[in-house]
Symmetry: C2
Subunit: 463 residues, 2 copies
Amino acid sequence: MDLHLKILSLLNKVRKTITKHNLLSRGDTVIVGVSGGADSICLLNFLLLLKEYELSIIVAHVNHSLRGEESERDADFVKKVCRDNGLEFELLVENASAIKKEMGKSIEESARIIRYRFFEILTTKYDAHKVATAHTACDQVETVFMRLIRGSGLKGLSGIPFFREPNIVRPLLEISKDEIKGFLTENKIKWVEDSSNTEQKYFRNKIRHKLIPVLNELNPNISENILRTSEQFTLNDSFISEHTNKLFKKVFRKTAAGFYLGNIKKFNKVHRFIKFALIREAIRRVNENLLNIDFDHVDSALKLLSSKKISGEVNLPNDLLIAKSYEDFIVTHKSKINPKYSYTIDSFGQHKFEHVSFRIKKVKVKKLDLGSNVALIDPKKFKFPIEIRNFRPGDKFVPFGMKGEKKLKNFFIDEKVPRYLRKLFPLFIINGEIAWVGGLRMSERFKVKGKECIKIEYSGRYI
Amino acid sequence: MDLHLKILSLLNKVRKTITKHNLLSRGDTVIVGVSGGADSICLLNFLLLLKEYELSIIVAHVNHSLRGEESERDADFVKKVCRDNGLEFELLVENASAIKKEMGKSIEESARIIRYRFFEILTTKYDAHKVATAHTACDQVETVFMRLIRGSGLKGLSGIPFFREPNIVRPLLEISKDEIKGFLTENKIKWVEDSSNTEQKYFRNKIRHKLIPVLNELNPNISENILRTSEQFTLNDSFISEHTNKLFKKVFRKTAAGFYLGNIKKFNKVHRFIKFALIREAIRRVNENLLNIDFDHVDSALKLLSSKKISGEVNLPNDLLIAKSYEDFIVTHKSKINPKYSYTIDSFGQHKFEHVSFRIKKVKVKKLDLGSNVALIDPKKFKFPIEIRNFRPGDKFVPFGMKGEKKLKNFFIDEKVPRYLRKLFPLFIINGEIAWVGGLRMSERFKVKGKECIKIEYSGRYI
């Protein structure tokens, strides 16, 4: 290959990107996604030219079967390029249209998911260090504007990352399409044109063909500005994430039952922007994603948490609930704290149900050793079947050490059990009477008088 | 005025904006900028309709003399509106074109400066609480895109603030132009059209007429998205500022001489994004603004500070210098730490110069009490005239307690005086020899042997 000075300077630009973002190491095995278009053919050639990295290159091509014969032509073209350069060629033939239906996503998104799954498989097969994709500076600018226009949080405006976990690298992210085409033309390197690129079929293509020309007219340096801005966004976002995670550990504690309980006082001390980030992070940990959660949802949670009301709750999409009570608040799936159950038991031994697990046996005790998860019941009062169910309005019992009956609701209030945790305590009901609020308090009426007793142990804990 | 339901709901939208951002208080005196265009006429009418605030309204109109007779017509129109509503009318006639030349700014920018200066004057005259301007949601969207396209830091993307220090409020910032025109038309309220708005003369107008239509086509909800995004930016920016200022106090200390010295170790512990913010904040404190300072400048400072070199410096525009030495670094105007001076003194008493102030007198001492800002000189060695100048390469002296001569440079190194502070120490030279490195160390050769001595005190301190 005959290298002009201009080309060398372009290659050096790529080298700089690679060094700055630590994209490649010497001796890396790299899976390169090659569609056959200008960008990916250019990427492949650059990687071949970066001799100092001594890379082992495997080319991955996905035929999405979206463009009939043209798709076949592209696959054949990439295969030939690999043969000419003595490179491994990996082909995946998929029907993206069919898979689109299955996934319920856009065709573009489905094709993307298929590609990245293929890269994962190849990473394992070749024990590869990196997967390189050919995203360019132009893709970056388009992405930033796409997200801005569609409405994305600040996070989205960071655009395409140079490096994405676990092993995706984008060495061309600071190179423009013009530079790429110049490089290929000057070196007489062939590529194939993807006809779908010129159709205004997808949103990205609309951005490319309608918006970008107007932006370029308004400022010929628009790309540089956007790249710089999105770099700042990335930095900003990385800092916010780091800071939020640090504060998350200070504001939230994980209960024995795996719930995150936030401390309202600590929460209200942080900056409003970080409050948003903390609530979003809590939702992410509970729900895995933030789908359908928008600014107003989080804002209503913030209002609840800063209000003077002792308790209250906010319902969010995806069965999510944010509830406060006393000093704490919880972010959870509603169904998780509002189970409805009633089990009838007529034998000793270990019992396991969806909502509660416990063991009942007869024992002799020398000392009354009552842990919060253990109840010792007077055998004279005990009779099968017993019922294990959770709190219902109107429930009453006689708390250990007291004489009169008390509403369970008031007992919970006195014990400062947050409202949203109350349905999680199993009630052990003997002879139609609450003998034990599991994990919290026994009934005075069932207390042991001799050495013989019925021991109930249960393994749940909520606070 | 006949109020339709739609109008009431629009007024309530404005009420919400006002409440949410705390823009008005009951009984406020408000200066309202009224050009006579739809936006400002609408703003004026809304403020009149917000009876519950019991506002005292003063209308301010600036005739920029940019559009000849049309300018006169607008001024007359606003004057008539005020007469009809019994409102104070304040008129400023300016020649913005002439002032543009004087200011060396764009005509738009000059006109803006003139307007806000007028608002300031009126604020004082009427002891006003607020100045209300008629920026709309459309202005907001345009501003965000203008800054994005021209290249602005993240801060700029916050757009137009609802409230700006000391007293500027924008109650229409969530109302669109369509809503405004609808309101005026339905209520048969007249306004004047500004012909310059329809010319593609200014960058903002290009954005308005070329870019916004494309964006609206790509997403009809673009305005809402951008407003929401810029609200997030504002919050983000407010948090970053707060966090940066907190860290600034931890990382920097102000020396006795008013220099900010940053601790390199503490600096390097913070997140890269906050490093950028800290350097920018230090520059802002030194230079008042960040003109001509870009990403690369700050980046080069970060490189210097994280490098293993003991000392080094980075030159920035506006005579700015960032220099490190040992554990500290300084952000300063270069001229401030590189003075060149030499003063000749031939009398006792108080002496004041630009770079150094000191007092010389004969005293008798019982005890040798040497503070760092005091030197006691043997009168036998003392002789007028003496010279006071700062460090030059090649300077030598015999440090107190030592026998041999030492290079002053090496003395500074041993004393860990950062390189960038060395030229700040005044050298007191007697008989052509350094008798005192002011504020640091006397010469062994000039030390006092009896009770009589020459006392020199100087009032500077640099560390």
